[in-house]
Structure formats: C-alpha cells, structure tokens
Amino acid sequence: MNLNPHSAAIPSTLATRLNSPPPSDKAPSAEPIIPDNVQALFGKPALLPGEDLRNYEELLKQVVLYINPKTILEWLWVKDIVEYSYDILRHQRFKTAVVGLGRRRAVRAVVAKCIHEDKHAQHLNRLTDGFFQNQEVRKELQKNLSALGLTEDCIEAQAMVDASPDIAKIDALQGSATSRRNTAVREIERGRQQLLVAGTDHPEVIEVEPHDEEKKS
C-alpha cells in the first residue's frame, strides 16, 4: 500500500470501495473478518435502525483487505475508516430526506399562491395532502401552476431554499466525517513509515560532505 501521508485525499481505489455501498446480495463469509481479540474490543457495530449488518460487514471486509492491519493501533484506525464512511453515507441520505421534508412546505406555499378563493388553513392542507395522494388534485394544481407560468420544478426549488440551512449543517458534518476518515488512512501509513524507520540500524542519518570527512580524519 503506497499512501502519501501528507496528502489530503485518500487513494482512488480505496475511495471507490468506501464511497459505494457494498452489494447486499453477497452471502456472509464463513471466515471471521476481525480476529477474536480485536472483536472483543470493538463490540457490536454502531448501526441505525434499518441499516443492514451485512452491508457493514462487507464494507469492513473491503477495508481490511485493502489496509491489512497488523497491530491493534491499525485496527482502531480501520474501525474509524469504516464508521466515518458510514457517517458520510448517512449524511448524504439525510440531505436527500431533508429536501423531501421541505417539499410539503413548498407545495403548501405554491398552492397558497395558486388558489385565489378560500385560503383557509384547512382547505390549503387538504389541497396540499391531495397533491401527494390524489392524481386528479395534482393535475389540477399543475394546471394552475402552468397558468401562472410555473412548473413543478418551482416546488423543488422552494423545497431546496427551505432546506438550505439544514443542508448547510449536514454538509459541515459530512465534511468533518470525510476529513477524519482521511486522517485515519494517513495515520496508518504514517505509523508504518515510522516503524520502518525505527527498524533500521541508524534511524538518524547524517549527510556528510567529502571535504568535511577529510577534515574530521
């Protein structure tokens, strides 16, 4: 494994494995991915309800195969890589869902603009619900939107505007998770280089010019 410890980015091959959710149709492997002594320290994986343990184990397996951790220290960093990779994917999902939540508010705002009579809250709510659940109401509202020179894209745009403060927060959290995952990768490589240097007979090498050697002799 050749990683540049000073690089901010992780290698593209590892990035590809980390950024793509692993296929869920793979049968679980019979071989333990984590040695027993390490598993005792790790405990159970931290998953959210609805997340598949097989996906987590597959991602862990991919990272372990790539990194090939040798020490407990490296296993700790490997766990970080997997957990922060999961966080990055979760944050992405949250962003999408937050925009989806904003869609109802956006539909209500657009409906309020479209109808001219009876802007009573109950009527607006009924029309908004109808937009999501009733095709005829949806078509009627689309006609009203067209009459005003608007399209359903306006609803998406309004939803994005409403959700932008939340998306900004999630983006910041996602950025932190990415940074920490990259740090974990760099620390493994840094540790290996340190051990490599320490394993030589003369870890500190002093470069001496030829004329300096003559003077010393």
Partner: protein, 183 residues
Amino acid sequence: MTSQRRVLANRRNAARSTGPRSAKGKLSASRNAFRHGLAISVLEDPAACREIKDLALALAGDHPDATQLALARDAATASIELRRVREARLTLMRSINGQLGPPGAPGTGPNERSTAQGGPDTTSEKPVAASSSRNLRKSLCDLSRLERYERRAFSRRKAALRSFLCAGSGLTVRTSRKSPTSA
C-alpha cells in the same frame, strides 16, 4: 514556533471570553453535563475504566515497560472518550433517522426505502407535519453542537496514539505545526 508575544496575547484574549457571564447563562452551563454527559471525565465511569484497562493492555502487548503502559493507558482513555462522543452522536442520528423515516441501505434516498419484503417503496409520499420539521431542525442543531466534542476527542486520541507508537518504536515525539489537512 509561536512567539512569546503571541502566547501572551492569546492568554489575554482567552481570559476575556471564557465562559458565561450572566446568572442565566451560568445556570444553563451548569446543567451541560446532565444534558449529554460529555463534559464529565470518562474516568469517573467505573465501566469505562474497566474498558480502558482492557484496551490499554491490548495496546501495550506482552511485557510492556512502565512508560509504554502509561502511554497505552492514555491512548485507551482517549479512544474510550471518542467512542462515548460517537455513541451520543449516534443516539441523535437515530432520532433524526426516526423523524425522516426508515432508510434502505446507506447511500439510498427516501424514494428508495425498503418495504418489509425488502423491495423498494413505490407508494406516494405521505405529507409530513410541521412539528416534524421543527424537531428535525433541533436535532440537527444538537448534532452540530456535538461536533466540538468529537473534534477535540479525535484530536486527543490521534496525539495519544502517535505518542504511544513513537515510544514503542524508540523515536522521539516532535510537535509539528498544525497542517491544514489535519482533522
């Protein structure tokens, strides 16, 4: 290397801005530890102390000397502290996840949620109450507040693991300038 003048200026500035000043602010801050428990040291939890001991022994390996054991203990303490922050963060993420609806595999959006049979959910979207949006905003704010604790815990653990590694490999720990790429 930071100059002495800069160090003194930093100390003056820190003394000016540290902590709440009003009675209300002080009362609110005094309850911080009860809100999520992260302001309390992990060493005050007996269960955590046992885990720290186990992890320190696993890190130190067979026949460590006193220095290695002490550094392993520091690294283990930092690791358990980080794990505690992550657990608090995961609790909040569970709350957010519950408000957003059950997910499919990570990386899928709300339109790809799985049904009980495991297939994608193709029913029309259900309208969401306004109170859900408020709760979601609050949860996201709380998650952002935890970021400070996690940043600090991660940084401490990185430093502790580096010190332990250097002690084991016989190299000297050098404090380097903070790089823009470090977490």
